[in-house]
Symmetry: C2
Subunit: 238 residues, 2 copies
Amino acid sequence: MARMRGAAKTVPAQEVERRPSLVDDAYAALKRAIHDSSFAPGYQASEQEIALRLGMSRTPVHEAVIRLQEDGLVRVLSRRGVLICALAPEDMREIYDVIVAVEGRAAELLASLPDAAREAVASELADYTEAMACAWQDRDLPSWGQADARFHRALVERAGNGRMTRIIQTITDQSHRARMLTLKLRRELGASVTEHRAIIDAIRLGDSAAAQGRVHDHRLRARDELLPLLESFGLKHL
Amino acid sequence: MARMRGAAKTVPAQEVERRPSLVDDAYAALKRAIHDSSFAPGYQASEQEIALRLGMSRTPVHEAVIRLQEDGLVRVLSRRGVLICALAPEDMREIYDVIVAVEGRAAELLASLPDAAREAVASELADYTEAMACAWQDRDLPSWGQADARFHRALVERAGNGRMTRIIQTITDQSHRARMLTLKLRRELGASVTEHRAIIDAIRLGDSAAAQGRVHDHRLRARDELLPLLESFGLKHL
DNA sequence: GTGCGCCAACTTGCATGCAAGATGGCCTTC
DNA sequence: GAAGGCCATCTTGCATGCAAGTTGGCGCAC
């Protein structure tokens, strides 16, 4: 009955592209609901209720919730429902440490690329930064936030390390609500443009130590600007 | 029917300690099986078969497999079984980047601790390093590996960042087999002791830049020693 | 002998049933 | 009136049934 399949037998051709399953649907829907605060932090829902709302049975919801728990977005309280996780300032401190670590290494890697690839990346990053500068002049906060997000995502993705990309994606998901909130509170958005340009210069010059250091300083400055804001506003949980 | 629980209602006392479920059992058992190569990479098993072997139904196995997939240890091939993931040298390169990033930041944080805490951590790290030196003299590879693992785990855990700890835990799980293999291949185990001592000194002195840089160099040296070994031995997948 | 196609077996996706545990309200008792 | 205990209800944990899709082999045709 239990047929042992040989280890050497490679993956059978088809490049493993799953069509979207109900689990994926539930996962995406729940993540979106959490991001746009349809499910506010602290809210406690039952899988049954979520399943009903999404028009499917409990099983795919349950599996999606497991994945969300791995992502740190919810917690499953045994026999008591699903709790949407809140983010404390302490969590934001942790998150910034991870960002500093990963983006710093990514910048280092980018600065070590061959000339042509390096220039291409620098050029792309410069585009996003100019978009930020324009948005800043126009006082267009949403555009500024979008361009900033693109800059930081490209910074990591272009380093070509899937694991680092995934880590940043997870961390970004976790802090999504906080970012949306703080975008309106911050004052020094202009400084980011200058710092981004410094990062880009270091990458252009192939100075990996400087690239790492400047990303490091950029993110720590942003953190030190943000955390007091959060605490002064009494945002104990986001 | 669908009773909406208030968001403000805090977690009901009990500090959320799940007793081990069948899912946890399956998860632990599978991870162990993968680590000790009972399930070799490339092996393809069915959830039914695993469930039978573990004496439970398919449901908890299925959920455990989902978690293992999140950890990057297996892949679920839709309607074709569970594939134990193999690690290519390219994966090891990615893994080392993550380690360099996270451990580097952790060292930085440790060097920024207050005097007493810093000294305590340095002292603990020194203990592990001395254990490595002894094991190296005795040519006791398993002990060396264990002490080295403790050093690196403490380096991250003592920084007090749960997310960084979790990332390192995941990465460590992924590369477990590779580490076991390469422990026997490496020649320069002695250099690690010297480098560890340099890291500890930087932490003791509160020099966070030096601490970060020395961890950085230590891990990159180890990587550059290891990767050629793997490739020369033709270990395309571990 | 070779190649093609059909089919049977096997696999996961998902729904649902049942059981055990947690919770909150109601009733009883003092 | 207040407090404590019992019970109904709600919740997830897990087993299992059914359906849909994939695979490999067997047999048939040439």
